[in-house]
């Protein structure tokens, strides 16, 4: 069982690393309505619902730190928010709600919209840039929708990993 758990965590880690590199590769994914999805946010949510709260939190830290450190040299919004959210998701999925597709997607809609909107606040509103609202409509809504769609795909991928290499 311990071996299976190790291979499951290894599979998650490889998945995270590969999508981190692919998402940052220039011109690999086409921009739809001026944005590409945040793969790591979707990945951390779908991993968290299948794991206990501590492993869920650790993968949340990894996804958040990679998102933050990959581009800004500093730990910030994504690391802190994904740490808290993945811990709570891991706890809820084990004790309060069932980790089925509909519950995961419903949670993902609120979580992704909240995190990316918060990022918009830090990136635009606080700096006082002009035309921030236009940018939110033209880019962020597309990014939120795409990330939610990715969550649906990652849900089935990680469910497969969990069922194949589950306890």
């Amino acid at each position: 069982m311990q071996n299976l758990k190790f291979f499951r965590y290894l599979a998650y880690s490889i998945e995270i690393l590969v999508f981190f590199v692919l998402s940052s590769t220039p011109s690999l994914f086409p921009e739809i309505f001026g944005a590409t999805p945040c793969f790591l946010v979707a990945l951390s949510i779908t991993i968290a619902v299948f794991e206990n709260e501590v492993p869920a939190m650790i993968f949340g830290v990894a996804c958040g730190a990679l998102t933050d450190l990959g581009f800004s040299n500093s730990i910030g919004l994504f690391t802190i928010s994904l740490t808290i959210i993945c811990f709570l998701l891991g706890f809820c999925a084990n004790n309060i709600i069932a980790a089925n597709f509909y519950n995961v997607m419903l949670s993902a809609v609120f979580i992704i919209a909240a995190i990316l909107s918060l990022q918009f606040v830090f990136a635009f509103v606080i700096h006082g840039y002009d035309n921030a609202g236009t940018y939110y409509i033209n880019h962020y809504i597309s990014r939120i929708v795409q990330t939610i769609l990715c969550t649906a795909v990652f849900y089935f991928v990680n469910k497969f990993i969990y069922e194949t290499l589950g306890d």
């Binding site: 998402s23 220039p26 501590v54 830290v61 990679l66 450190l69 500093s74 690391t79 740490t83």
Partner: protein, 282 residues
Amino acid sequence: MNDFFKSNSVRIFLSTVFIIIVLSVFTNSIEANFLSSTVNSITYPLSKVTAAATSEKDMSYSELLTEYEKLKDENAQLRTQLVNYYDTLTENTRLWKFYNLKKAHPEYSIVPSVVLRRDTNDEFYSFTLDKGTTSDIAVSDPVVSQNGLIGWVSEVDLNTCKVVTILSPQTNVGAVDNKSNDTGIVTGSALYCDDNLTTFTKLSASHKIKAGDIITSTGVSGLYPKGLIIGEVTDVCYDTYNSTYYAVVKPYDDITTITDLAIITNYTGQGEVLLNSTTENQ
């Protein structure tokens, strides 16, 4: 529920959040920290491979077919030549783009570089280049293409550096219209950045700027070399909010997709602020 709040999980969670907040403060206060250097060093080889694999993207099937036929012919001719010929040729082609720039400005120290990553979370098309402090890159170094200014280095670590483009409002370049001699500040705008456009702001009410004029840097702050081409004026508008005129400037390169660039690490007048002249900052 009470048991849960007293459990080890919650203690681990609270400790992790505390550590992350401390690290967040630490990483925000230090320019090049070991965390980001470690992440970049681990992912550097994989990013290099994927970046190279996508460098010739956006070609149609017929274009690819033509390219394939051309390369097949070339391959037959080149088969007898040295094994490392292709590498040398590619590097030479890339460097050739910057030859004219170097020829025109022999005082520039130029480091050719390629885009390693594009920041999907950044709204103004910033990107990461494959050169860092090991290549003498420093924060604020100008980044150029063979056609002009592209941006400036905002963060640097051992092997990579982050570049903020002239499409970003974070960028402020003192600039001059070469034809009318009107001066102002080139800065990005959320309204125009998606169309690969930037703005030439703080123009006087009596300006004589017209569409087609070429905008260059003034170099007065010592942050950018003097005379670096920024772009061409496409339109002159009036900002009713600020009651000032600004010009819309189109850079000569598509900054949203550009891959081959050079970083100017040293030039005459670097870091020397010219007093009693137009303001330039970044």
